[in-house]
């Protein structure tokens, strides 16, 4: 029961279904199974570590220089971006060659930046563990949404779908229908 409730709450607060954040990224990554899992997990890492950075940035800005919050978040994401590339390069050059494209796609996008903003805007997030949990939840929500999109990708790209609606238009309508169902959960 707990798992079902957790799953439903993940859906209800989902980045893609309720906020449309990261829709473009999920469309790019859904094209094959390997890339969608890679991108989804790396985005989860970015939202989790980014949320910790956002906590310190929010404390530092402390309500002042509000307009520079985006700049601070860009710097945080930039640091995570470069660090992840460097760590991967140190671990294995072959792995770096294979995975770097997923890191490039996952760094600066609406899913990551939007999560940092959403955490910051939520008054319930007061300490670093709240930020971290929210970041992790958002990342997991993105993984769930990616699974939904990736499973439907093949069918929405098949010859049975009219050529004008094949691919992205059908995926948007499909996401709209899931989003409608998720809306009722809210």
């Amino acid at each position: 029961m707990f798992l079902i409730v957790s799953f439903l709450s993940q859906l209800a607060g989902n980045l893609i279904f309720t906020q449309a954040l990261g829709t473009s990224t999920v469309f790019i990554s859904a094209k094959n199974k390997r890339s969608f899992m890679g991108v989804a997990f790396i985005i989860c890492i970015f939202t989790t570590f980014g949320s910790m950075g956002a906590y310190f940035a929010d404390r530092l800005l402390n309500g002042y220089f509000e307009n520079f919050r985006l700049f601070a978040y860009v710097l945080i994401t930039g640091i995570i971006y470069l660090s992840s590339l460097f760590i991967l390069w140190c671990i294995s050059k072959r792995l770096y060659g294979r995975l770097k494209k997923y890191i490039h796609i996952s760094s600066f996008n609406c899913a990551v930046m939007g999560t940092l903003y959403m955490i910051s805007e939520n008054p319930e997030n007061t300490n670093i563990s709240d930020y971290l949990l929210y970041g992790l939840q958002s990342g997991l929500g993105f993984i769930i949404a990616s699974v939904f999109v990736a499973t439907a990708y093949k069918r929405l790209n098949c010859a049975k779908v009219p050529s004008s609606f094949r691919g992205m238009p059908a995926m948007l309508v499909y996401l709209g229908i899931i989003s409608m169902a998720v809306w009722t959960l809210k």
């Binding site: 473009s24 700049f71 590339l85 903003y117 309508v173």
Partner: protein
């Protein structure tokens, strides 16, 4: 000459930023609940993207890809500061309604990735032409989407009451945005295929 002209106008027709390339979909879905909000979005997007891409063009090409991406994002996030203030003067309520999506416009994929993949290889005049049409491509889609959703959801366009008998409030919600954008995308593809078969 014709192919060069086609290449420059690609962003508007053949390779539309939203409908074909699938970029910047989130704001196009969430923030286009009314024509006025769409105008605010278009204003901020156009100004930030135009200047950020021009400044990003000056970043040395020798730098690694990741560093160039970070530089470009940092430039656009700094440009966001004055643009937000100016937009607040013209569309204060829209900026409030758009909320977190407003800053996200400054780190859109047209600035962050398209600059690196497409614009950097062009000469400056070509860059300007391409950029204008890519921006126009987004602007037109967002304005059409905003007008259509406002009409369907509230029976108004830019707060002017239209003579329609039925409204569907769901069009103003995120799922309505997904579905309407999907339909617009399908119609665009049909028109594009008709035009390209006509050219052949």
């Amino acid at each position: 000459m014709k192919s060069m002209k086609n290449r420059i106008t690609d962003g508007l027709l053949r390779d539309n930023t939203v409908l074909s390339a699938g970029m910047i979909i989130s704001p196009a879905i969430i923030c286009t609940t009314s024509f006025r909000d769409s105008l605010a979005l278009v204003y901020a997007f156009s100004v930030i993207t135009f200047f950020a891409d021009i400044i990003a063009y000056l970043i040395p090409k020798k730098l690694p890809y990741a560093v160039r991406v970070i530089w470009t994002s940092a430039i656009s996030s700094l440009l966001y500061v004055p643009v937000r203030e100016l937009t607040m003067m013209i569309y204060p309520e829209s900026v409030e309604r758009i909320g977190i999506y407003f800053p996200l416009i400054a780190v859109n994929s047209l600035i962050v990735y398209q600059t690196q993949h497409r614009f950097l290889n062009l000469d400056f005049r070509e860059l300007l032409g391409n950029l204008v049409f890519y921006i126009l491509g987004f602007d037109i889609v967002v304005l059409v989407c905003g007008a259509l959703r406002e009409l369907i959801a509230y029976g108004t366009v830019n707060n002017k009451v239209m003579n329609i008998s039925m409204t569907v409030s769901g069009a103003g919600l995120p799922f309505g945005g997904f579905i309407i954008l999907g339909i617009i995308c399908g119609i665009y593809r049909k028109i594009r295929s008709l035009l390209s078969s006509g050219e052949d």
